[in-house]
Symmetry: C3
Subunit: 266 residues, 3 copies
């Protein structure tokens, strides 16, 4: 079971250590898809909270020394307990601090899923390949999403998702490509963060993190497309609200019909 109905049935508790910009949307997206969010980022609190959770989502959007220490403590505890950990390396490669924190998280925590944009995952790929810092001289061939995602998946052992116009998920020779969603989702802050939270919800109810990640992305894409059809013309505020509405209505049939998800192998 790696689908929406599994999330709604099991209602996993998803512990998020996430940025303060989009945290409200992340919580509401997790609730809308049928899971239960809990936000806690203090070193005194995170180990207890992750111990009662079914998934942990770490998002470095507004990181600082205090919360980075909490991310590592929570991640290690989750690994110890077999709880899946999702990483959203917001801005990895864009600043030295975000890059070094990403490196540190990857060296200290074992992630079940890593989701980022092409630039963020390329940073990890370069790093994993032995170079330091983000390689801004990447050619198009080097930046092939399947190549990068599968390379990062191999080096980290995680399911790796690169989201963009078409989304790519790679793990252990398997590949998923998702073409639902629309460019206008980038006009709302936090659609990536919400997606990482929703992946946490699916992972917390799943037995196969690869399928769970692909399905979560397809569900988010379908919700975005439907929301844009219904409310996009009214403006980005209404589109934002409609996106949460459509997540709350999401069922497996909608993912099947509107998710535009295809599996392959590499």
């Amino acid at each position: 079971m790696n689908d929406v109905s599994a999330v709604r049935e099991k209602c996993p508790l998803v512990h998020c250590i996430t940025n303060y910009v989009t945290v409200n949307d992340v919580a509401n997206a997790i609730l809308a898809i049928g899971a239960s969010p809990i936000m806690s980022d203090d070193i005194n609190d995170v180990e207890d909270i992750v111990s009662i959770s079914q998934a942990l989502v770490i998002n470095i959007g507004t990181l600082n020394e205090r919360t980075v220490a909490s991310m590592i403590a929570a991640g290690k505890k989750a690994d110890e307990l077999g709880i899946p950990v999702v990483l959203d390396p917001v801005g990895a490669g864009a600043s030295r601090y975000r890059s070094s924190v990403t490196d540190r998280l990857l060296s200290e925590v074992e992630f079940a899923v890593i989701r980022g944009n092409l630039s963020e995952i390329s940073y990890i790929a370069g790093n994993g390949g032995g170079t330091k810092g983000v390689d801004s001289s990447l050619t198009e061939k080097d930046a092939d999403p399947v190549k990068i995602a599968s390379s990062v998946s191999q080096s980290t052992g995680a399911v790796v998702a690169i989201t963009g116009k078409v989304d790519t998920v790679c793990y252990a020779g398997r590949i998923a490509r998702i073409s639902s969603g629309c460019a206008e989702m980038g006009l709302i802050t936090g659609t990536g963060c919400m997606l990482s939270g929703v992946i946490g919800a699916f992972a917390g109810a799943a037995d196969d993190y690869f399928k769970a990640t692909a399905t979560a992305i397809a569900a988010m894409g379908a919700a975005g497309e439907i929301a844009f059809e219904k409310a996009g013309a009214r403006g980005t505020g209404s589109f934002h609200i409609a996106l949460i509405d459509e997540l709350s209505h999401m069922i497996d049939e909608t993912v099947a019909v509107r998710g535009k998800l295809e599996y392959a192998e590499y």
Copy 2:
């Protein structure tokens, strides 16, 4: 005067030290009911801010050492000045840190109102009764809301509200039961936090904190029910916005007709 019109007339300034997940909704809910919110959580700032406020709301949803120190300093200053303090002990009993901070707040600050769910207030009841930590072996009889709320009210001297399917408010032999609201309010993050903020607004305009708390809960329940009737079918994003809309339209007549508030004694 402990009603909506008193809030709208006096427009009390409500100082909130609250979590970053739902803080925007708390501010908008306080504005919608006719009061004025001010958020400030730094130790250098809170005493000055609480001194110009008519109520203080302390919510431990995303606590840390820095903000806990501010909560205590602000709470003590409010007590000194006779400004009502509302406690929302989010997650008390769910982690050792949240529990110990709740204990510390209760020992250092005198609260006018404590509002939580059955589990959170049960934690305080157990603690007040001499046990340590949350008692997870509570029987249904032990968990009777009236018994627990009146016990915590007696031990703390505060008006105590337990919110759930039916809400209970106890203080000094008086009891209020409120059955407005709907289960779907739990599908929006922060309805509890917003309610605590709205209680702060009522307390800041009131001469009777018991009636103010009961009326605030009835107003929130009525707003939730009406919002769900109007927008629930559209999804949880639209329901969330409609809830703020209905708070902004709230008048005493609506509380009287839709609030489902009954008073009794025990």
Copy 3:
């Protein structure tokens, strides 16, 4: 080029160190007007982030020692690189801490634009005039917005905007008065913060910060008026969403027709 189309064409990256109450709305407002927001407040991160940005917005709404240090470091770096810095001194004059941080920012960072309400800018005016602390005994004549804004502009070298029923912008003998917008915008938390973010977006695409500031205020006022006409009757939640909608639809023609902007000299 200091208009909406310049923002949409150049899509400046706007680095915000802002409060956690309204940060989501600030990000969505910046996106809606056609720019790109990035929030980063850690001392290890801000210099790298501001170096890739076209504007920096500093808002002291929920300040603390950690973020104040970041504001100063980011501000100095921006000054060094010639990137415009916008200050929103939320609550200057209302507490000693907010006042002293405002003083410190003004002494260490050179601002391109300062935007606040009459009380906040009056605090700066008093301070700039040699007095300490907020002067609560200001007479109406002393509190003339044009006099205060031009005085603060002269002492700081910044474009200074005082927003209220009518908005005033002063710089180097030039004055702009904007009478669009509506009082109900004060019933949504964060319209001031959003405006400061939008000013950052305009400044990041502009060659004339005075015109950019005036146009940003006119665009926000027009969006508020249109949003209130369309959604105000539904309540403050819907009005809030409609405001973002109208920002996302904003074009130069709408600013010209609905912005109610007039220029003069003093």
